[in-house]
């Protein structure tokens, strides 16, 4: 079975400075929900932006490649990219106040997508499709007449999910889609994503910092530290048998809502620890079925 998305030896850096990410090897199967977690600056956002070909200004892919359905995405052909964007790889952004154009109605913003990708106005069959995706995210068609600021944060985020699903892409990259939302909206947004995944068979690359969220929704989890993928495996295996010391620390730091337990002693990771965790000379090795980690054998 070939992978939907294959990332091979990907290295991203700014000019001559040491690379900020990689080398990364990672693959995703069709219809799979992969979660990427790590601390800020760990490289999870850079990785997702490389998949979207939306690296921050100055950042470049130095080595390696990303392939979708076996077709390499880099080097980028601008025309070809416009065809891939949204039709094959769509995006659900972080819930920010200004993520939708504040002076344009939601309907017009759907219209822009349809017009620029298919060259037709938003009417008839397309209008039906838009209403369908809105219904799928539990929104009334009336939101099409609204301006973004008239919707709540959770509603705007579901509009973004509906936009991502409109062309039924094979892959959706979701970058911290719920970090700005309260837990009730977070649950609604995440469950909506899962339902759409089941309905359309869309694979989802979910970037986040909350392991508890990943436990709820991810099939597989990748843990990034200092620009390296240090562990990648099925969600259950990561939670039950974490192999990498950083992964273990991360898990230890997730408090549960179920049982009250004593907090760990306040020992902060030393520079030596951090050096060790990001040691590139240690290769990824298989530590369980489908489960690999960058650590010495026990």
């Amino acid at each position: 079975m070939t992978a939907l998305l294959e990332i091979r030896g990907l290295v991203v850096g700014y000019g001559d400075a040491p690379p900020v990410l990689g080398p990364i090897d990672l693959d995703m199967r069709a219809g799979e929900l992969v979660g990427l977690v790590g601390e800020s600056g760990g490289g999870k956002s850079t990785l997702s932006r490389a998949v979207l070909n939306d690296l921050p200004a100055g950042a470049n892919i130095l080595e390696g490649n990303i392939a979708l359905n076996g077709v390499p995405l880099y080097p980028v052909q601008p025309q070809a990219w416009r065809a891939i964007r949204w039709k094959q790889i769509a995006y659900v952004p972080q819930a920010a106040l200004n993520i939708l154009n504040p002076v344009r109605r939601i309907g017009a913003q759907f219209g822009d997508m349809v017009a620029d990708h298919y060259g037709v106005a938003l009417a008839g069959e397309w209008m039906q499709k838009v209403i369908d995706v809105l219904t799928a995210v539990r929104l009334e068609p009336a939101v099409l007449r609204c301006y973004p600021h008239q919707l709540s944060g959770g509603m705007r985020q579901r509009v973004c999910i509906a936009m991502a699903m409109l062309f039924q892409p094979q892959l959706v990259v979701a970058d911290e889609p719920t970090s700005a939302l309260d837990v009730v909206s977070q649950r609604l947004v995440l469950q909506t994503l899962l339902e759409l995944r089941d309905k359309f068979g869309t694979a989802i690359l979910l970037v986040g910092h909350d392991l508890a969220v990943m436990a709820q929704v991810a099939d597989r989890i990748g843990i990034l530290f200092a620009g390296q993928l240090v562990e990648y495996g099925p969600a259950r295996a990561i939670f039950k048998e974490p192999a990498h010391p950083y992964a273990r620390r991360l898990l230890q730091a997730v408090p549960s809502i179920r049982v009250r337990s004593d907090l760990p002693e306040a020992t902060f990771p030393s520079e030596a620890d951090r050096q060790h965790w990001s040691d590139r000379s240690i290769p990824m090795r298989l530590v369980g079925p489908n489960h690999q980690a960058r650590c010495e054998t026990q």
């Binding site: 837990v183 508890a212 436990a215 730091a253």
Partner: protein, 275 residues
């Protein structure tokens, strides 16, 4: 009834704006820290539930529109100069965004110096240095490394610990911690919270912990208050509330918090309705 609590908030309410634009942020909230023993009380709720407004009232930065805030039995506006000064010193805070807690114009040591000067100690004197070192060691920071740096050269976790050290200089009786870990990397959150717990257990300091994170609230608090739309909807023992929530909103909140266990996933049947 005579109240000799260390700090008591009695049926405090706060409304912003007036007339048609009136927006009640806090309605009838009460809580108190007894003068004996140290307690960690948590107010948990989503953004806009009034928890930060309450914190600002507890610190004397906002005047409640109804009800009052009492320090050792006396309402804040009635405190005489000396007592208000004592209140200012003994009720300290750790705020949400460590990167904004420090004035970018100055080094990290600036707030520590301000605090020392306020206490009548010259920051550069032997005594001043000793006090700063003592406070920083309590939060396991190396004074030599910290004091020479600027805020942007440090991580959020480190800055937040300097903030705790600053508060410690005053030997406070109560620390209001307003979302102290929400801007810190997940792997370090629990460790910073651990310091708060240590302050309570080791130094006997009361803590008012304000958070949106029910999980950490469960882990560290002696008493938990759930706030929703400016009101306290449920209060009591944290484990009790989580296991057996009485209020509808609390129940929704508790079931929405993700459990870090792939074997205990949300059921599809209980998807919350659109908010």
């Amino acid at each position: 009834m005579m109240s000799t609590d260390l700090l008591a908030i009695e049926q405090a309410g706060k409304t912003f704006g007036s007339g048609r634009h009136a927006r009640p942020a806090v309605v009838d909230m009460s809580l108190s820290f007894p003068s004996d023993g140290a307690r960690l009380i948590t107010i948990a709720g989503e953004s806009g539930c009034g928890k930060t407004t309450l914190a600002l009232m507890a610190l004397g930065f906002l005047k409640p529109t109804t009800g009052e805030v009492l320090y050792k039995g006396i309402a804040l506006p009635d405190l005489n100069r000396a007592d208000f000064r004592r209140f200012r010193h003994k009720v300290q805070a750790v705020l949400q965004n460590p990167f904004e807690t420090f004035n970018p114009f100055y080094g990290v040591s600036h707030p520590l110096h301000l605090a020392l000067r306020q206490l009548g100690v010259a920051p550069r004197s032997r005594e001043g240095k000793r006090l700063m070192e003592q406070a920083l060691e309590k939060v396991r920071l190396d004074p030599g490394q910290v004091l020479e740096r600027y805020p942007h050269q440090m991580s959020g976790g480190q800055l937040q610990r300097v903030s705790i050290a600053r508060a410690m200089l005053f030997s406070p009786e109560l620390i209001v911690a307003d979302e102290p870990v929400s801007m810190i990397d997940a792997s370090l959150r629990v460790l910073v919270l651990r310091h708060l717990v240590d302050l309570k257990v080791r130094d006997g300091i009361n803590i008012l912990y304000i958070t949106h994170d029910l999980s950490t609230a469960l882990q560290i608090s002696d008493e938990l208050l759930i706030a929703h739309r400016g009101r306290i909807v449920e209060r009591g023992d944290p484990q009790e509330i989580v296991d057996n929530p009485q209020d509808d909103y609390t129940r929704l909140l508790v079931t929405s918090v993700p459990v870090p266990d792939p074997d205990q996933r949300w059921g599809q049947e209980s998807v919350p309705t659109a908010s």
